[in-house]
């Protein structure tokens, strides 16, 4: 009878108890938000990799893009006595609190993407700034080649006020543009709220005020796609066999929706960068190293990953196909999808 009760309790309480019962390692993963495909993919890669390489189990608690939710997710995982926590926090201040709480409970924690203000735990950082810079360079080169006489005018959609986004994406991108076209002008920087619909509306207004904008950067693919929809609404947004006509659009994340446009010779969305797999794996590896004691859990250690850049001119469809499969669990044929585009 007593045994039955214990079994029931184990079945009811979230996997943690079961994990403790057979000494299986349990990791907690808190993604930024499960509403977005990038974060959905990273969760899948994280759990698969932990299971296959370390036989570890993963508990996922959604951070819901909010500090409060992420922090309560951390507390929740601490209460479940997981063996390690991976956190993509929405803000810097909250990260410090979370790291402190986990350390107090003796649980290793690794942060990612948003640099913590207190450097007291290992951190995984995709080096996005290189690829962002590179995209700016390529975009400016292509525009200058096509229209040497038309001065470069840039419009950027961001998430409002994230400092990290500026550091990793928007600033290096514009610097990349300037490195090729020193006279390039940043004519508009507005909040696209990470949303395609909102970005379309905002970009319509921006193009109204500045019809001569010719390089557009969306700080994620969703916003770049919204900018593309806006240009299409205005009868722009096209290329002639990969040659710029009205503008060049760049995004970030490198998902399926973006890749289909990037390799379509008639669309002006032409560049993106991103990476999921290496980041997810690095999080698991770092956590396991701390659990096994090969890395100290309360020392700053920056693990860098790459964020490869893809563009129409310098990348191949097979490479992109491989990238999508590795990072987003893509099972379709990219070339076939591109061919259905008009």
């Amino acid at each position: 009878m007593k045994k039955l009760v214990v079994t029931l309790a184990a079945a009811c309480s979230i996997a943690a108890t079961a994990g403790l019962a057979d000494d299986k390692i349990v990791l907690g993963k808190i993604p930024f938000t499960l509403e977005h495909s990038y974060h959905q993919s990273i969760v899948e890669i994280f759990s698969d990799y932990a299971e296959k390489n370390y036989g570890a189990e993963t508990i996922v608690v959604d951070g819901q893009a909010s500090s409060e939710s992420s922090l309560s997710a951390v507390e929740n995982l601490i209460a479940q006595k997981v063996d390690g926590i991976a956190l993509h926090s929405p803000d810097i201040g909250m990260t410090a609190t979370a790291v402190e709480a986990a350390h107090k409970a003796g649980i290793p924690i690794v942060t990612t993407l948003i640099y913590p203000s207190t450097k007291t735990a290992p951190h995984i950082q995709p080096k996005e700034e290189f690829s962002s810079f590179r995209m700016g360079e390529v975009a400016a080169e292509q525009w200058m080649t096509a229209f040497p006489d038309k001065p470069v005018k840039v419009a950027i959609l961001n998430f409002g006020g994230f400092e990290q986004i500026a550091k990793l994406r928007t600033e290096p991108f514009f610097k990349g543009v300037q490195s090729v076209a020193p006279d390039a002008e940043l004519v508009a920087m507005q909040n696209g709220f990470g949303s395609t619909i909102k970005s379309m509306e905002v970009m319509l207004d921006i193009l109204q005020a500045n019809p001569d904008v010719n390089i557009i950067f969306g700080a994620n693919d969703d916003m770049a796609l919204g900018a593309l929809a806006a240009t299409e609404q205005l009868g722009r947004g096209k290329m002639k066999d990969g040659a710029p006509l009205t503008e060049i659009i760049a995004g970030v994340d490198g998902g399926e929706n973006a890749m289909v446009k990037v390799f379509n010779p008639n669309s002006s969305f032409k560049l993106t960068h991103g990476q999921v797999r290496d980041n997810g794996r690095a999080e698991v590896d770092t956590l396991m190293a701390m659990i096994e004691g090969t890395i100290e859990m309360d020392k700053w250690l920056e693990v860098q990953t790459l964020s490869p850049e893809f563009d129409y001119w310098n990348s191949s469809v097979p490479a992109a196909q491989k990238f999508l499969e590795e990072n987003f669990g893509f099972e379709k044929d990219l070339q076939a999808l591109v061919d259905t585009q008009r």
Binding site: S37, N191, S195, T196, I197, D205, L225, L337
Partner: protein, 326 residues
């Protein structure tokens, strides 16, 4: 003499809000056309109308619903769900027209739930429609997951975007045409039909309306269904315009709709309000937001301006609908 005072009071009560809105619009337009040369152009006005189109389409019906003293907080979720459903069906081989039809019917089903809980069972609309807000939003994410991702874009037939980007007579964007049609329909209902008259009566005095033999439940239910249908149509329109369906769109749309309605002078308690006022309210919000972006003002200030407009509108509303308290 006494009658004259009353008449002035009466006019103040019914028409001042519209006059203030028209004045605000004129001031904004003059200011913006001086500040940015690109303001006064057909394309810019088209942009503003495109931006407010969805709000105005839904608010046309929601305005008359609020005239009865009821409101619907689920419109944003119903819009998102309908967009996802339409994209999902199209992607999985349902002909686009058929998918639109199915989506509209399902959207009316959401309205039917609101009608049942609020009009028939008498549950407070704040609670009942917020329930649908969560449920419809949840189903939107669920359908997107069935499709295997966070949103639906690749794999959609190429004709998918034709509907949303259609230009009627080669010049007028469909969204604007639908907006005008929704406005015209509800202006007509408001001015010329029994339903319109009864809506005002229900909002002015529900008990008296029942005792006068008015089918109060039927009219409130009908309006809930139409509001949901318009939200569904807007979802189809928006998804098809962008060419991408995301389950997290239109969060907070219910507030944009209510702000437009209240700004237009409709009382939250019902009995007072007009379609024209609502349109003016939506335009003030639309032009304010457009102007701030044209001027390159960061979005923080846009958010602040939006809040100021909202509170200002509530104060105006309070002042003119409750002359006794003023």
């Amino acid at each position: 003499m006494r009658w004259n005072v009353d008449r002035i009071k009466h006019l103040l009560q019914t028409e001042t809000q519209k006059a203030v809105l028209i004045g605000t619009l004129i001031v904004m337009m003059i200011g913006l056309s001086l500040a940015t040369p690109s303001f006064l152009s057909v394309t810019n006005f088209t942009n503003v109308f495109l931006k407010v189109a969805v709000i105005v389409i839904i608010a046309s019906a929601a305005n008359l619903l609020m005239v009865t003293g009821h409101f619907d907080l689920s419109v944003g979720s119903v819009l998102a769900f309908s967009g996802i459903l339409h994209a999902y069906l199209c992607k999985h081989g349902v002909p686009i027209e058929m998918s639109m039809l199915i989506t509209c019917i399902v959207a009316m089903g959401w309205g039917g739930i609101n009608a049942m809980t609020v009009a028939v069972l008498g549950i407070n609309p704040v609670i009942a429609t917020v329930g649908v807000l969560f449920i419809a939003r949840g189903f939107a994410f669920l359908v997107a997951r069935w499709d295997g991702g966070a949103n639906i874009m690749t794999g959609l037939p190429m004709e998918f975007v034709d509907f949303g980007r259609e230009l009627v007579f080669g010049i007028f964007p469909l969204a604007i045409v639908m907006m005008v049609a929704a406005l015209a329909l509800f202006l007509f209902i408001e001015k010329r039909t029994e339903i319109g008259r009864f809506a005002y009566a229900i909002g002015a005095n529900l008990q008296a309306a029942k005792l006068s033999g008015i089918n109060t439940v039927g009219i409130i239910a009908l309006l809930y269904v139409i509001v949901a249908l318009f939200a569904g149509l807007s979802g189809i329109l928006q998804t098809s315009r962008v060419g991408l369906a995301a389950p997290n769109v239109a969060k907070g749309l219910e507030f944009d709709v209510i702000v437009a309605i209240i700004l237009g002078g409709t009382a939250m308690t019902g009995g007072v309000g007009s379609t024209i006022g609502m349109l003016l309210g939506a335009l003030v919000v639309g032009f304010a937001s457009n102007g701030l972006i044209l001027l390159g003002i960061p979005f923080y200030y846009q958010s602040i301006a939006y809040g100021v407009i909202l509170i200002g509108s509530l104060m105006l509303n309070q002042r003119f609908t409750n002359p006794a308290r003023a």
